[in-house]
Symmetry: C2
């Protein structure tokens, strides 16, 4: 396809693989290659034709060959270091998701991007991302109201790691489950006060080491401060085979609900929800749609760091404005 | 409030009343007045301090006193005539909702707005509007998928009118009810083929004239072509008192569901829904938030006709970009 958007992938874990797959579902995009810190020959891409390069080649050889670079590293160590560096040579899209550090990360990316006339979309995905947009819409459209975010059913990496550190645990996973009662209460138009722990419970699936005591392990988990002590937590003991068979997926999702009043008598409820069989593949798919917007923003000289809040919906679509008005409005 | 956005309301029915109420919930807005075709002295606004003027005064006296004019007339007769006229002197927001005629209406408003450096947001509300945005997001984020729009539970004006034309019917209302089975099927990640009639059924509440035959009325309704014949329709006979007591509200809402695959194995479901106790009040509240965006677009010299697809979320919020990133992202 002529004039297709040339995309590069920096970092190749679950998210990078999702981006590689998503690009194939968008006919106006073309994958330049994967850029990895590993030895390129050790990487097996999902598609045989995908080129793999060392990430060291990016800055020296690819600045004129890539329209948008999608950063697929982690928010803790990779992005804070890579984001500002790549922002001086590439339009970028990333999924930086450490909510508390977004203002700081935004500033660190905005300066080089503005100085070099690049467009960098940060914190793209579903939360931050789609959920953020719905929190904003809820407030703007129903100023007299309350917003509720529920997460799950979803695999939580941090809580799964915490379980696996418990003595006697061989392997395990933890799912965050939104409380059906709390969701129904919010959907009814009531505006209850709910802490995070009132809105979720935690389900653990644990494989014991040989000879470990189940009651001791369970007690250690459910009383663990910060992670489980404040929550309604269930521990299920399963075999290693069951873990392999039933718990290898990475589902996630959740709900953003705005309950508000337009007048004293009339309550209104807006709700956005996601039910994801694969968290990284969906996040990747969002990143790819925003890569299209990133390219278009840069072409219309909108430089600097931006977020999902700054992107008009039409910029995300492969369709023209005329088509959108005719077919989707 | 200094520098508040000065808003006018053209047309004062249910929607205009909703806009008047909504402006009071947005502290950065100031209501200049209601402009009506009726005699101003015959109009009783919701708030005692609201000024009421003849619509004839708008073009002659108010072009420099209003930042955004919200058009609250109907899509059939009022807007096609008013929209293009007001677009040459005002920034406008309207809820034009005749889906098939949107391209034509867009063109009729775009020409005068562009020529006179005005910004005119057309077809704002929830469908078209919020539902349209979610249809666009669904396609853009999950290109391999299907979109399903369900409406209801909602009072349908057109179908209620049809019932009231049946011989023997004294009064009545009709609600469109989305099919729970169809919604569950779509939410499961399956991608069924569903016609509008498979997705909804119709509930009628009818007050009979004295001496009318219930069986005949019921049969006339459920076999009525176009309106009911293709649908699963239920007719309930009620007293006039019950109609007055239980059926005077204007609830509406619905669901936009996108079911798609990011890869052969992984399905993903996005869902947006509204549960509205008052359809006109919610639509009004959306119009007011978009009036803020309209004013800002005009100030940044984005002229011409635009739709919800062209408005970045941040433009809708009273908060600054810094606040939004810190509090909502």
């Amino acid at each position: 396809m002529q004039n297709s958007i040339r995309v590069g992938i920096a970092g190749y874990g679950n998210l990078g693989r999702g981006v590689e797959t998503a690009i194939h579902k968008n006919p106006d995009m073309q994958l330049v290659g994967i850029f990895t810190r590993r030895s390129p020959s050790s990487v097996s891409p999902c598609f045989a034709e995908t080129q793999v390069y060392s990430i060291d080649e990016l800055l020296s050889d690819f600045s004129n060959k890539i329209d948008v670079l999608i950063l697929c590293g982690g928010s803790k160590d990779d992005l804070p270091q890579q984001g500002p560096i790549f922002a001086s040579q590439f339009n970028t899209v990333d999924s930086f998701d450490t909510h508390a550090r977004i203002p700081e990360y935004f500033a660190a990316v905005d300066a080089p991007a503005t100085a070099h006339q690049k467009t960098c979309l940060i914190s793209i995905g579903w939360d931050p991302g789609m959920f953020s947009i719905n929190r904003l819409l809820g407030e703007a459209l129903l100023p007299d109201g309350e917003t509720y975010t529920f997460w799950g059913k979803g695999l939580s990496q941090g809580h799964s790691d915490a379980i696996r550190r418990v003595a006697g645990v061989k392997a395990g996973v933890q799912y965050t489950i939104p409380s059906t009662d709390a969701i129904e209460q919010v959907r009814s138009g009531a505006r209850p006060e709910l802490a995070t722990k009132d809105k979720h419970h935690r389900d653990c699936y644990v494989v014991l080491e040989d000879g470990a005591n189940a009651a001791t392990v369970e007690n250690t988990i459910v009383t663990m401060p910060d992670y489980f002590a404040d929550y309604n937590t269930t521990v299920n003991f399963i075999s290693e085979e069951t873990l392999q068979k039933d718990h290898q997926r990475m589902p996630h999702g959740g709900f953003v609900i705005r309950s508000g009043n337009t007048s004293a008598e009339q309550s209104q409820v807006m709700e956005f929800s996601l039910k994801l069989e694969s968290n990284p593949e969906f996040t990747a798919s969002v990143l790819v749609a925003y890569a299209r917007a990133c390219h278009r923003l840069n072409q219309s000289q909108q430089y600097g760091a931006k977020t999902a809040f700054d992107v008009a919906p039409a910029l995300l679509s492969i369709k023209t404005s005329e088509q959108l008005r005719k077919e989707l409005l």
